[in-house]
């Protein structure tokens, strides 16, 4: 029982990462029907920006965090402008192939520039250490990540439900054309959506650095698949659903590995795909209601 609880607690950090990524993912998915495989690379660029600021320029931690957000938002908007905007109205498959190409391109470019070695991600001392609860160890950084995830999730849900821009987003996810004729500035809403999604990816980059203590250029490969499957599991376009589903996937994956025999630990990537296929067969619309509501 202790082992189980300890595994669940350990997995909460990974679950938060998945949740934050999935929330950003589901927004672009819901609004312009884009399965954005470059989202992982948006996160990676943020992490690299933070690494550059903190390790190469030796700036303090908070500057690195700001840099990660700024880097992610910049690259997210750049991809939107260069790759997705000229393809407005094209089919979902064309958009997906474009995002795949963008993902490959950015990742390869960064690997060429700074190689794919593990890069240190220094964290301040107040995030080190752990709290003991009986036999269970809780790391301070996990608590911080969890709290920040909840805050971001609450803010995002408030933004989508209660603000004018959020309402416009929901209108667009129903029907972009009608939203346009009702006076929604669709291009502006798309840019805001990408900015918010990229901001969340920047947050995920910081979480990644805090959780693992290092970042690398190929870090976006696995998590983008997890985030995508979480966004399908949570109902496409449903922010709350995506966050819950992100936690389900993160915790589930950790438990899956924890209870596998040692020589089969390499099967870890299978978990999300099993979830995906089971989901497609039994409940293709996801666990929660689709569309941003």
């Amino acid at each position: 029982m202790d082992y189980f609880l300890q595994q669940v607690i350990n997995s909460l950090g990974w679950g938060s990462l998945n949740a934050v990524m999935a929330a950003g993912y589901t927004m672009t998915f819901g609004i312009i029907g884009l399965v954005n495989f470059a989202h992982g690379e948006v996160m990676m660029v943020g992490a690299m920006a933070a690494f550059w600021l903190m390790v190469v320029l030796k700036l303090p931690f908070w500057m690195g965090c700001l840099g990660a957000m700024a880097g992610s938002i910049a690259v997210g908007l750049l991809i939107e402008r260069l790759a997705f905007k000229p393809l407005r109205g094209a089919g979902m498959i064309t958009l997906f192939i474009t995002s795949l190409a963008a993902s490959f391109g950015i990742r390869t470019l960064l690997i060429m520039l700074v190689t794919d070695k593990l890069k240190p991600f220094p964290i301040p001392d107040y995030l080190r250490g752990a709290i003991l609860l009986g036999d269970i160890i809780i790391f301070k950084k996990t608590i911080l990540i969890l709290v920040l995830t909840f805050l971001a999730g609450a803010a995002l849900i408030y933004f989508v439900k209660n603000t004018k821009t959020g309402t416009a987003m929901r209108a667009m996810s129903y029907d972009p054309e009608i939203a346009g004729t009702m006076g929604v500035n669709t291009e502006r809403v798309i840019i805001v959506t990408f900015a918010v999604a990229s901001f969340l990816a920047g947050m995920a980059a910081i979480f990644w650095g805090i959780k693992f203590g290092s970042v690398r250029c190929s870090m976006g490969v696995i998590i983008v698949v997890n985030a995508f499957i979480a966004s399908v599991l949570g109902g496409i376009g449903n922010v709350l659903g995506a966050i819950v589903a992100g936690f389900i996937i993160g915790v589930g994956e950790t438990l899956f590995v924890a209870y596998l025999p040692d020589q089969l630990v390499g099967l870890r990537p299978l978990f999300v795909w099993i979830v995906f296929f089971v989901l497609l067969i039994f409940k293709p619309s996801g666990l929660f209601r689709p569309n941003i509501k």
Partner: protein, 343 residues
């Protein structure tokens, strides 16, 4: 008359291949073989992705299954039994099979495996089909890496006999292209193309959707597996990772550049991408230019340029080079006349 023309063309092709086989130096011959294999992969992928509108990214997994099946048959006994002691059934472990049966069995296993695993995926539409096949790709690679008793894990297999030569590659490639051209005019091909454009219309016209999807996927998977087997016996090295998303991405780029749905477009795309990747490959390693300046190692340059080219093509000319037209005698004649007498 038509028959005579075909025979003359075939004889000319055989003569040309014989000439090329004799005269080309090693690097260019390998390039020609890779071009042939890529043509096979692209034309086969075009059947599902171009005609039937079943956009698949799972063909890497099919190549993996076909490639390993053939590998178990053609590997020397000394390697697979004595050195690695793979956990294979005895009849596979103790014999070494010639290339043709290995090709056919590998192709069939790839086709069956692809179709069976695609069955749940075939019920899906559009994007979900694509993502399910992507999952298929990930799953086969992960499993192949984690059963080292059978596949030797990420270390992979070596010591293949170098079976692939110009006759196998281009024989199969020409046969597949001919088959595709005939298929396009046949009932099955037309049904596939209608299905790709409008499923409801196709089912109203009496096309059994599930059956034709299986036809498309099975045929495509068969030749994809054969392409994988030829590739393995050319490179002489096999490990699961090579069949990952990178490879699929390259083949998809070929058919998108050439024009989705066009057979000649697929071949043109294969020619462009093969030449491009192989000619840029030395550049990736870095070189010095007569001592004047040194170009540093640029690993990944081809991927970067390929990604940029793909995005530009999708934005500027989404129908590709050929659209869905084909190169034929009448097409060449009309182009020539337009060239002679511009309006």
């Amino acid at each position: 008359m038509q028959k005579l023309k075909n025979i003359i063309l075939l004889a000319a092709a055989v003569g040309l291949l014989y000439f090329l086989d004799r005269c080309l130096p090693g690097f260019w011959l390998t390039l020609l073989l890779l071009f042939g294999i890529n043509s096979i992969l692209a034309v086969a992928l075009n059947i599902t992705n171009g005609w039937a509108n079943l956009f698949s990214l799972g063909h890497g997994g099919i190549m993996l299954v076909g490639g390993y099946t053939a590998a178990f048959m053609t590997l020397p006994v000394a390697f697979k039994r004595d050195l690695l002691d793979l956990a294979l059934p005895g009849f596979l472990l103790n014999i070494q099979v010639p290339f043709l049966p290995a090709l056919i069995v590998g192709g069939l296993v790839g086709a069956v495996f692809g179709s069976v695993l695609a069955l749940p995926a075939l019920r899906l539409k559009g994007l979900y089909f694509l993502l399910a096949t992507l999952g298929f790709n990930f799953i086969t690679i992960t499993i192949a890496e984690n059963i080292p008793d059978i596949t030797n894990g990420p270390m992979g297999l070596r010591q293949f006999p170098a079976h692939t030569n110009i006759w196998w590659v281009w024989g199969i490639a020409i046969f597949l292209i001919y088959l595709s051209v005939r298929l396009r005019r046949s009932t099955i091909g037309r049904a596939l193309i209608v299905m790709g454009q409008d499923e409801e219309l196709a089912s109203h016209l009496g096309v059994n959707l599930l059956r034709y999807r299986l036809y498309a996927f099975g045929l495509s998977a068969f030749f994809t597996a054969i392409g994988g087997i030829l590739w393995v016996h050319l490179i002489l090295n096999l490990y699961p990772r090579v069949f990952g998303l990178h490879l699929v991405f390259n083949v998809v780029t070929m058919i998108v550049i050439g024009g989705l749905g066009s057979i000649s477009g697929a071949v043109i795309g294969a020619a462009i991408i093969t030449g491009f990747v192989e000619i840029l490959a030395p550049l990736e390693e870095g070189f010095g230019f007569f001592g004047l300046f040194a170009v540093p190692r640029l690993l990944g340059l081809t991927t970067l340029i390929l990604a940029a080219v793909l995005i530009v093509i999708l934005v500027v000319r989404p129908e590709g080079i050929m659209g869905n037209r084909e190169i034929s005698w009448s097409w060449i004649k009309s182009q020539w006349q337009r060239f002679r007498r511009p309006q």
